[in-house]
Amino acid sequence: MTTPARIGAIGRTALVHLTLGGYCLLVLGPILLVILNSFKTRAGIFDAPLALPTHDTLSVAGYARVLGDAAMGRMFLNSFVVTGLSLALILLLGAMAAWALTEYRFFGNRLLALFLAFGIMVPIRLGSVAILQEMVALDLVNTLTALVLVYIAQGLPLAVMILSEFVAQVPQELKDAARCDGVGEFRIFFQVVLPLIRPAVATVAVFTMVPIWNDLWFPLILAPSEQTQTVTLGVQQFVGQFATDWNAVLAALSLAVLPILVLYAVFSRQLIRGITAGAVK
């Protein structure tokens, strides 16, 4: 039954999908372009950039060159270590701090919460001069440790804020019951509270992990040496050096993007659930 109302509704739906789909094309286009062209020969890349790799132009020479380069492997390792360690510690320390701030009454509780929240609004980079001086003094320049410490400091404020929302939602009865049973505070935290805030963990993980993996600034300033380069910094330098070796450059970029895409695919549903559950308020 095509009444005027129905036609209007169909038209509206079409417009919605057109807009959303159109923007999706804008989003995927550049990414696909890079990935597709990374599988082509140089000639293929130049002559027909928009074309798919054909039988003639298909080539994995770029990947071979990049993967053969030992430096790439080391950069990936560095990125994984830094991101993974930072994330784990941000989650642990952040959850503990969120728990302490929401659960316990003590002088300066609100002040400390505000102190931490300040870090969300004020970029940590502004203090870079002093951070570098600190690292020099601690002899941590060009170490992954320096990066991890800075990233923890960077990621804690937002993590504590998001986790606090979730910790506050843990039912009071559970905590009371545990305390009545004589369970110690540490056990309550690790065995009762922590498992209950799992949805928040995915949200915090994505919001924290991505800026760390993709960061250019601190690796550049604190750990630019070859041994400690992260993937992001390394590829950036690589691109600068090998600007004309398109295959290799495109291959390197495609590889650099892969871990994040994989993790995102794994976490995306949890992320949405975390966000919509009120993590971001």
Binding site: C24, A100, R105, G119, G127, V129, Q133, N214, I221, V239
Partner: protein, 304 residues
């Protein structure tokens, strides 16, 4: 009901506080303090009061660079506010409509650019916009606009807006997610009540949905502000530390980097860098303060 704090509370809170204070709060304070010192040519550091700030604001060379970067940052912010946030609002509004098929898929895809590093984004877009590779020119030719194509990234007056738009492309995902979360938090029955009263989709958007998400829109704006005035990565990836052509794409972030790290022949000055960082800090503080004390409260009141 809050528990009384014992030493477990301290154990829980201490590690986070220590790391945060040591590597975020204290360095910031130290930088503010360092800005009051000057380095002479021999490398000695001595207290100099407001001399650095004086230099930054009144020395022709410094002021020129600072003003240029500041103006660029404002332009950068303006483009984000005028393009990124309305686009995010539109996409979030469409996504949150009931019965949009494939919404989860759209959501996933739209958030993708935010996950990518500036390296790939910078490179990909440079490639796409490059006159040599001709992708953009070809696409524009398809809609008959081939004449309007230009090497935008290389031209002084278009370099910054182009980079800003690339940045918008990258970061739409964040306000999109925030606004989306706010929109779906609106109880469905409230929207239905409006429908029963005869409100069409437009009216529902303008008079029901929009007012209820105003606090989130305010938050998005302030996050955009902070993020923009902190921007560095994309410009560095696309244009390098010199932010050419001829500093046309120089932002406070790149200026800061050059100042305290040094570039090419000029030696970096930690103290001048610190002074610059201090100025940036106050600009951001002013913006955030304005937002919190003036705008956000009003928005909360309107949204009920």
């Amino acid at each position: 009901m809050k528990q009384k704090a014992g030493w477990p509370a301290i154990v829980f809170l201490a590690p986070a506080l220590i790391v945060y204070t040591a590597f975020s709060a204290w360095p910031l304070l130290a930088t503010l303090r360092l800005g009051l010192y000057a380095t002479d040519d021999a490398g000695h550091v001595a207290f100099a009061g407001l001399a650095n700030f004086h230099k930054l604001l009144f020395d022709e060379h410094w002021w020129g660079a600072f003003r240029n970067a500041m103006v660029n940052n404002v332009e950068f912010f303006a483009i984000h506010t005028l393009v990124q946030n309305p686009v995010a609002l539109l996409l979030a509004a469409l996504l949150s409509l009931r019965g949009v098929r494939g919404a989860p898929a759209y959501r996933t895809v739209l958030f993708l650019p935010t996950l990518l590093s500036v390296v790939i984004i910078g490179f990909a877009w440079q490639l796409i916009l490059s006159p040599l590779w001709g992708v953009t020119e070809k696409l524009m030719g398809l809609v008959g606009l081939a004449d309007h194509f230009g090497p935008w990234l290389g031209q002084e007056d278009t370099a910054l807006p182009t980079i800003a738009l690339i940045s918008v492309w990258q970061f739409v995902g964040v306000p999109l997610m925030l606004i989306y979360a706010a929109l779906i938090a609106i109880p469905e029955e409230v929207v239905e009540a409006a429908q029963v009263e005869g409100a069409g989709p437009w009216r529902i958007f303008w008079r029901i949905r929009l007012p209820l998400i105003l606090p989130t829109l305010g938050l998005v704006n302030i996050l955009t502000f902070v993020g923009n005035f902190n921007a560095f990565d994309l410009v560095y990836a696309v244009k390098g530390a010199l932010a050419g052509p001829n500093f046309a794409s120089d932002l406070l972030g790149t200026l800061f980097y050059r100042t305290f790290f040094g570039y090419q022949s000029e030696v970096g000055s930690a103290t001048m860098g610190a002074a610059l960082a201090t100025l940036m800090f106050f600009v951001i503080l002013a913006g955030v303060g304005l937002y919190f004390f003036v705008i956000q409260r009003r928005l909360q009141r309107v949204a009920g």
